[in-house]
């Protein structure tokens, strides 16, 4: 148990140190730290912020994936299942169509709105069932998608291009102050989620199972939904929807490590970050100077690996 967490941490450190050094132009670490131009600028202003963003986004999406799959007891759930990221996308698309610069803020507002709407719909009296949550979230997704299609239809050619790029998802360098905010929230919420790991184990079996062992399931489900949605909403506002990370990292880890959330959540945090850093590094180096959208790469790298894992472990897991 401790070993898997330590190994994951080690993998993340290696990847995070190596990634900023890789790129279309060769740089040296010594020159970057000595302040020699252009190594300094490339390292500290182009690559490092982007690696940190990839780390935080990958971690947040993987943790949310583990959480939502557990709460909904649905192996196909992912961070985007419960509608918050669609809300974020609608916000961003509206901002693009109206010519606002602050797409990030607009998508945050969209995410928050959907979060409140889903909670308002799904909580009835003092009851909250994960099934209602799932149905409400999926409906929100469809409605948001319809709004996006409608706006896309009205948009001008350049707006339309901007919308497509946003919906593909991608990582760009952001300012360090933004990163600091994001890091604070992602680390705080992830730590809180990990603190409740024993309770997630029970909820993953069933509501009655957890309740008859002393867990307040309604409160826990509501908190899990809010925690996962805040993580997803924040990340989506900065990167757009990056698919597949939140689905595949949790499953790959469960195949290797089992279902205990006390191991699963820390490893998902560490390796989710590492996975997205690797994908993003590939996306900006493989056919440099052209970038492949990172969402395309997460699916292209992660998919075959996952299929191989599934095939090699399937017999022993009875899947």
């Amino acid at each position: 148990m401790k070993r898997s967490v330590l190994l994951s941490a080690l993998a993340l450190v290696v990847v995070a140190v190596a990634a900023p050094l890789a790129g279309s132009s060769h740089i040296e670490l010594g020159r970057a730290f000595a302040g020699v131009s252009p190594d300094h600028e490339i390292f500290f202003y182009a690559r490092l912020p982007r690696v940190i963003l990839a780390l935080l986004a990958g971690s947040a999406l993987s943790v949310t994936g583990v959480l939502f799959q557990c709460m909904l007891r649905d192996p196909l759930a992912e961070p985007y299942t419960l509608g918050v990221s669609s809300g974020a996308s609608v916000g961003a698309v509206i901002a693009i169509c109206l010519g606002f610069r602050a797409t990030g803020l607009a998508s945050l507002a969209g995410a928050a709105l959907v979060l409140l709407m889903v909670l308002g719909m799904a909580v009835e009296g003092r009851r909250l069932s994960s099934f209602t949550l799932l149905l409400t979230g999926v409906t929100m997704n469809s409605m948001a998608f319809a709004v996006i299609l409608f706006l896309h239809n009205l948009a001008s050619f350049s707006q339309s291009f901007a919308i497509s790029r946003w919906l593909m998802g991608g990582l760009e360098s952001v300012e360090y102050t933004t990163l600091a905010w994001l890091a604070g929230v992602v680390l705080g919420i992830s730590a809180l989620v990990m603190l409740w790991a024993p309770q997630w184990n029970l909820l993953a079996v069933g509501d009655d199972w957890a309740a008859s062992r002393g867990v307040s399931t309604v409160r826990l489900t509501a908190m899990g939904y809010v925690a996962g949605s805040v993580l997803t909403g924040l990340v989506t506002a900065l990167t757009g929807p990056i698919g597949f990370v939140g689905l595949i990292v949790p499953h790959a880890l469960r195949l290797k490590l089992g279902a205990d959330h006390r191991v699963l959540l820390p490893c998902a945090f560490l390796l989710g970050g590492a996975f997205l850093i690797v994908c993003d590094t590939l996306s900006r180096t493989v056919i440099a100077p052209t970038e492949i959208p990172v969402g395309v790469l997460t699916a292209l790298c992660g998919g075959p690996f996952f299929l191989w894992l599934l095939k090699s472990k399937r017999r022993s897991l009875w899947l």
Binding site: Q69, C70, R73, D74, P75, L195, A197, P198, Q199, N201, L202, A204, V205, G206, D208, W209, A211, S212, R213, G214, V215, S216, R254, L255, G258, A259, D260, R262, L317, W318
Partner: protein
Amino acid sequence: MSFVARQLGFAYGLHDASFELPHSGLITIAGPNGAGKSTLLGILAGLRSPYRGSCLYDGKEVRQWPRRDFARHVAFLPQSVRLEFPFTAEEVVLMGRTPYASGWFQTPEDRAAAEDAMTTTDTLAFRARDFRTLSGGERQRVILASALTQRPRVLLLDEPATHLDLRHQLSLYRLLRELAKTLLVVAATHDLNIALQFSDRVMLLADGRIVGDGAPGEVLNPELIAHVFGVHATIHAGLNNTWMTYEA
């Protein structure tokens, strides 16, 4: 008395149930499908709320018990557990220790309790196996072990033998008989022969109402069975036990 119920009701599933349950013994709740057996067990387990009327456990209304404290007294076994994720049998058993957990890690005490419960239910042999790969009977015993690690005073079981073959049904009820010497065991079943053979007391439900409550031999008489189940029952008395056969 452990449970005292007065005019207990829930939605359309249960009406005006009044009874008192002792501190030990094996009590079966019998009745046809949809009679309210699961609803009654659910209320006793603190899982169906709000209910009508009153249901006291240890002198305090069930819905007012703090969940964690209640879980140290009353354990509930669902009819079956379907897992989506690869928990091992031992992990499933250890989940029963949640009401005693003070932190993130399992204590030696938790492990000892799990070891104990797995010995009692004869499940140690497959402790490390994925729960989903176990047979129906093995799963049922693992779930029972999980409930026993709660160190409960009351064990509530919803049709525990449904997925078991004959031999496992009998060994499960023999184990419950054994446990019922020190704790109160309440099991819902629609197998009247099981109720007749193993229980100290039978509560017979029909259409959400208690229509019989007492010693198995008295409650399970041909007239009442004909009334509740719509079948003709014949009671056979052997040397050591009684059993019944039915025809439409």
